[in-house]
């Protein structure tokens, strides 16, 4: 009986949490139009989340692309169709690996930074100080960070895919000897706008999810060292699970 009660309790707890996250999202959305009038604050956050994540995104993109080139070549040459490597790598990157891996890296790099920054602002009374200066912290601090993350994610995913395709080409064409002409022409012939759109939609939704989780965890962090630590951990763990779950849903919806 006790186990059942505990199960029920944790179920209602998580539903309650989900409800408050959605409520927070609605609050952010309602505040977004006004925040957009001060784009300098948002562009600062695009720089923080986006530009500062570029190195890790580009490096990871290169290696993921190179592995894709190796594995793809190995698989395709068994069927004698290694010319399709360009097509396979591009579709894999644009539709799937680009958005997903970027989002996972984003959660680790930018998400944790957002959560700990907001958590520390609360712990050091900066949030209360803003409220006392009659400045709405949601409007001034949280929404620009949220929107910055939402805008940065598709840009990062696009860069990831481009570098990844270059990495696949580097290994497939330059090292394994796939014909460069068929690598690029097959890619151009078979990757459609719908594939690219799927990637963009995915990374936009991941951008909303990751940024929302990070700012929620940070804004409502317990204002202690332990609380801020917990908020950053939850940010990464929750983001990773949510990204993979949403990825399945979106992929299924696009098929």
């Amino acid at each position: 009986m006790n186990a059942l009660r505990e199960l029920w309790q944790s179920l209602t707890d998580s539903l309650e949490k989900l409800g408050s996250v959605i409520q927070f999202l609605l609050r952010l959305t309602a505040n977004s139009p006004r925040a957009l009038t001060r784009f300098d604050l948002i562009s600062q956050q695009i720089f923080n989340c986006g530009a500062l994540s570029l190195v890790i995104i580009m490096l990871s993109g290169l290696f993921v692309g190179m592995v894709l080139g190796l594995q793809g070549y190995d698989l395709l040459q068994r069927f004698g169709s290694e010319e399709a490597l360009g097509e396979a790598a591009a579709i894999g990157l644009v539709k799937e690996l680009g958005p997903v891996v970027t989002a996972l890296l984003f959660a680790g790099r930018a998400g944790t930074a957002l959560a700990s920054e907001l958590g520390l602002m609360r712990a050091t009374d900066q949030i209360s100080a803003m409220e006392m200066m009659a400045v709405d912290p949601i409007q001034r601090v949280v929404v620009p960070r949220f929107l910055g993350g939402v805008i940065a994610m598709p840009l990062l995913a696009a860069i990831f895919s481009v570098i990844g395709i270059y990495g696949a080409q580097l290994v497939g064409v330059q090292i394994m000897g796939v014909d460069a002409g068929s690598f690029w022409s097959q890619m151009r012939a078979s990757v459609t706008l719908a594939d690219v759109n799927e990637g963009i939609v995915k990374s936009l939704i991941f951008g909303v999810a990751c940024s929302l989780i990070a700012v929620y965890q940070g804004y409502y962090a317990t204002p202690t060292a332990e609380g801020v630590g917990r908020a950053t951990t939850y940010t990464v763990v929750t983001s990773a699970v949510v990204i993979l779950f949403l990825d399945y849903l979106i992929t299924a919806a696009f098929l």
Partner: protein
């Protein structure tokens, strides 16, 4: 609003945190133009009182009027308008760590006004000069000492020319020089700007030297009220213990615990 009416009027205030009563029927009147100290032992809810006065938390019952406005009846937007007339100094300064000293002081101006850059610069430098830190304008908060942070926060609190300035434990952790500076600033700002100051603290000596009137809180009520000399000769054990810093008295030295010898002689974990 005439000069004689109180700027803060608290009537029959009840407030509890998770069923533990903090205030029971609290009555306080804070007069305009004076420096009012709110004192009391740790845990009596001094900071909570500030949060109630500034509308950060809502009372369970009773009324709080600030500058003629009943806080309970105020919408969020109206509360924000009222807060522009108050300045608050947080215990650790609460400077925005990603902005320089200059930008911290300019922050309320940039958020609430459309003043020209030249004018903002003048206002900010004037306020920084008043706290003696014009030379630190380009420094970042992380480079400041505790006393300096508090002075910058004070400059930020007065940049919108508030009517009411609230200090939360302004003397905690300061060296004697910084302490003297803050004490002088509290007096000088209050008198030269013609504002009202509320200082929450438990430093009897410091407060006695600067406050015009003192409210001593204990057990959720005001136990004594008057000028600092009046409080020193107040005929109450609680007041005597607090003002004299005595270890034992109505506030016992020992936290409530089971019988001492009984607990020592019992086996571990068993009562």
């Amino acid at each position: 609003m005439n000069q004689a009416s109180p700027i803060v009027e608290i009537r029959k205030l009840d407030y509890a945190v998770s069923n533990r009563p903090i205030f029971v029927g609290l009555d306080i009147e804070i007069q305009r133009g004076l420096i009012t100290a709110v004192m009391g032992p740790s845990g009596t809810g001094k900071t909570t009182l500030l949060r109630l006065i500034t509308g950060q938390v809502q009372a369970d019952s009773g009324s709080i009027e600030v500058a003629g406005e009943n806080l309970r009846a105020l919408s969020r937007a109206k509360l924000y308008v009222l807060r522009r007339r108050m300045g608050m100094l947080f215990q650790n300064g609460a400077l925005l760590t990603d902005l320089s000293v200059f930008e911290n002081v300019a922050f309320p101006l940039r958020e609430h006004t459309n003043l020209e850059e030249r004018l903002i610069r003048q206002l900010v430098l004037t306020k920084l000069q008043a706290v003696g830190l014009r030379g630190a304008a380009e420094m970042m908060p992380a480079e400041l000492s505790g006393g300096m942070s508090r002075r910058v926060a004070l400059a930020r609190a007065i940049v919108m020319d508030p009517e009411l300035l609230i200090y939360d434990e302004p003397f905690v952790g300061l060296d004697p020089i910084s302490l003297g500076v803050i004490l002088r600033l509290i007096r000088r700002l209050n008198d030269t700007l013609g504002i009202t100051s509320i200082v929450v603290s438990h430093d009897v000596k410091e407060i006695s030297s600067v406050a015009d009137q003192v409210f001593l809180l204990s057990g959720g009520k005001v136990v004594a009220h008057g000028t600092p000399p009046e409080l020193k000769s107040y005929p109450s054990e609680t007041v005597k213990q607090f003002m004299g810093g005595l270890a034992d008295g109505p506030v016992p030295f020992h936290f409530p615990a089971p019988d001492y010898f009984g607990e020592l002689l019992s086996r571990s974990g068993e009562p």
